[in-house]
């Protein structure tokens, strides 16, 4: 997972800029349409005493839809500077996912087991897996960070951070 092993398959394009442009523009188009529609239902007229609650969101939705259609057409015709070239290479995507997927697992772990355990494990695993540190260094740092965060937030600033919804590991050590 270091920078050196970018062999030729890693240089392959996973997705081109043009395809990505089209996907994003379509998503934005849908997003704009949904906003415009719900705002319209809420009331999007200019009433007696100024605009109603949905007035601005309606036009915001419409503008998002229109401008993403323009971007879509430009991408389809390939007239934007962005529309050629690759969006991401296989090797790059691997690297990005190597951060993104553990991060998502990390957030899931926060939800279930609270931030302290999740942060300890996440930092340790990240260091061992991607940084190839000795396990004891990684665990030590993870624990230190969690303890510092605990002291700073729960004890000092009196801010309760998220405790797990499935199980709160802090109850194990009587906190």
């Amino acid at each position: 997972m270091s920078t050196e092993d970018q062999a030729s398959p890693d240089k392959q394009a996973v997705i081109g800029n043009r395809a990505m442009e089209i996907i994003v523009a379509l998503l934005l188009l849908a997003f704009g349409a949904v906003i415009a529609w719900t705002s319209f239902k809420l009331g999007a007229k200019w009433g007696d005493d100024g605009p109603q609650a949905g007035y601005f969101p309606f036009y915001i939705g419409v503008i998002i839809a229109i401008s993403s259609v323009v971007t879509l057409v430009q991408a389809l015709r390939g007239t934007t500077g962005q529309s050629r070239g690759t969006f991401v290479e296989r090797g790059q995507l691997k690297q990005v996912l190597a951060v993104l997927i553990p991060a998502i697992v990390f957030v899931l772990a926060i939800q279930w087991f609270g931030i302290y355990l999740a942060a300890t494990v996440y930092i340790a695993v990240f260091m061992i897996w991607l940084g190839q540190y000795a396990w004891w260094k990684a665990v030590l740092l993870g624990v230190t960070v969690s303890v510092c965060v605990y002291l700073m937030f729960e004890v000092w600033f009196k801010v309760a951070l998220h405790k797990g919804s499935l199980y709160d590991p802090l109850s194990l050590i009587g906190l």
Binding site: D49, V147, Y150, L151, E154, V155, W156, K158, V159, A160, I173, G174, L175
Partner: protein, 343 residues
């Protein structure tokens, strides 16, 4: 954990030391067989933003509890103001049986579910105690010629609809409800301007961008003392009891009630405490006792006087009955005003 007689810097050190110690040993579980008490920090939900009336009161309580050592565990205020407070109440509703969570209320306990249709009510929570009732006063700019509420109401009804601007906090909440009851008295409509906080509203009145407000006493007292705002009447059936001079010539008690001026409205805002549903009576009793102690402290008494609060204290059945009556009142007022959420 920390006592009042520490001076400031040794206090800081004490807190740090206690913090370190507390972590090292873990909190000592001191469960007394006789009575329940919190075994971990208590979350104090504030269903409003930082700096507002409820927020000030909650943080004062936190300070008093810490300073006088009224509770072994600490009280941690948490602002959950989303959706006009619905976020805070929903979180309490969801925490069934959790005795380490309390919430301070304002009128949005009643107005928010009625106006938005978000499903919660006081019935979803366990009533603990009423701390105080907040008053509402009709204010105008001191540069205007209106000396009494009657003068003002006559001027408004003479001018016709939408000529006078009333500033208030939020939409379809207590300030607008009061505006509607004034409209009934004047027989004409105000232009109601909703702002985000009570402080903003008072300033808009000082700057003459609105013609009147229904601020709580504490939100406008500074401007009153400085001679830029003038109180016309208090929305209650009796005058406020504080006879000590606030300005050179007047005390809170000298402000007539709106009923005296022909607006028969009595409306007060609940500053009370609730707990999640499904807690035991022992647990409720702990907090009732805690707030009784809080009310005895000089800091609390001074705060009550500064803000001209109505110091009624209730708990148990009496409190529950009061809340029920208040909810009925809100439902009626909001129905009349047309503020109920469409089903």
């Amino acid at each position: 954990m920390v006592h009042g007689h520490f001076s400031g810097n040794s206090r800081m050190i004490a807190i740090l030391a206690a913090a370190a110690l507390g972590w090292a040993m873990g909190s000592t579980p001191s469960v007394n067989a006789a009575a329940w008490e919190p075994t971990k920090p208590v979350e104090f939900v504030i269903p409003a933003g930082t700096g507002g009336g409820a927020d000030q009161m909650a943080r004062l309580i936190q300070g008093i509890v810490a300073k006088h050592g009224l509770m072994k565990q600490s009280l941690i205020p948490v602002n959950r103001s989303g959706g006009a407070g619905a976020e805070g109440f929903l979180s309490v509703k969801a925490a069934k049986g959790d005795a380490h969570k309390i919430v301070i209320t304002l009128s949005n306990l009643f107005t928010t579910p009625l106006a938005t249709g978000v499903p919660f009510s006081y019935r979803d929570m366990t009533p603990v105690a009423m701390l105080a009732l907040d008053q509402f006063v009709l204010w105008v700019n001191a540069d205007t010629p209106y000396k009494t509420a009657k003068d003002y109401i006559e001027a408004v009804s003479k001018a016709g609809p939408n000529k006078f601007k009333m500033g208030g906090t939020g939409s379809r909440q207590e300030d607008q409800i009061l505006t509607v009851s004034l409209e009934k008295a004047t027989g004409t409509k105000f232009t109601y301007l909703p702002f985000k906080g009570g402080g903003d509203v008072a300033v808009q009145l000082v700057g003459k961008h609105v013609d009147s407000t229904v601020n709580n006493p504490i939100e406008a007292v500074a401007q009153w003392r400085a001679g830029t705002l003038r109180p016309l009447c208090v929305f209650d059936d009796t005058r406020m009891p504080y006879k000590q001079r606030v300005t050179a010539t007047m005390s809170w008690h000298d402000i007539p009630t709106c009923a005296e001026a022909g607006v028969p409205t009595d409306y007060v805002m609940l500053r009370g405490i609730f707990m999640p549903p499904g807690v035991t009576q022992d647990q409720v009793n702990f907090y009732v006792e805690l707030f009784r102690k809080v009310r005895e402290t000089p800091e609390w008494k001074r705060f009550m006087e500064d803000g001209a609060f109505n110091q009624t204290f209730m708990s148990g059945k009496e409190y529950a009955a009061w809340v029920e009556k208040a909810e009925r009142q809100h439902r009626e007022l909001m129905k009349e005003a047309g503020f109920l959420a469409k089903p």
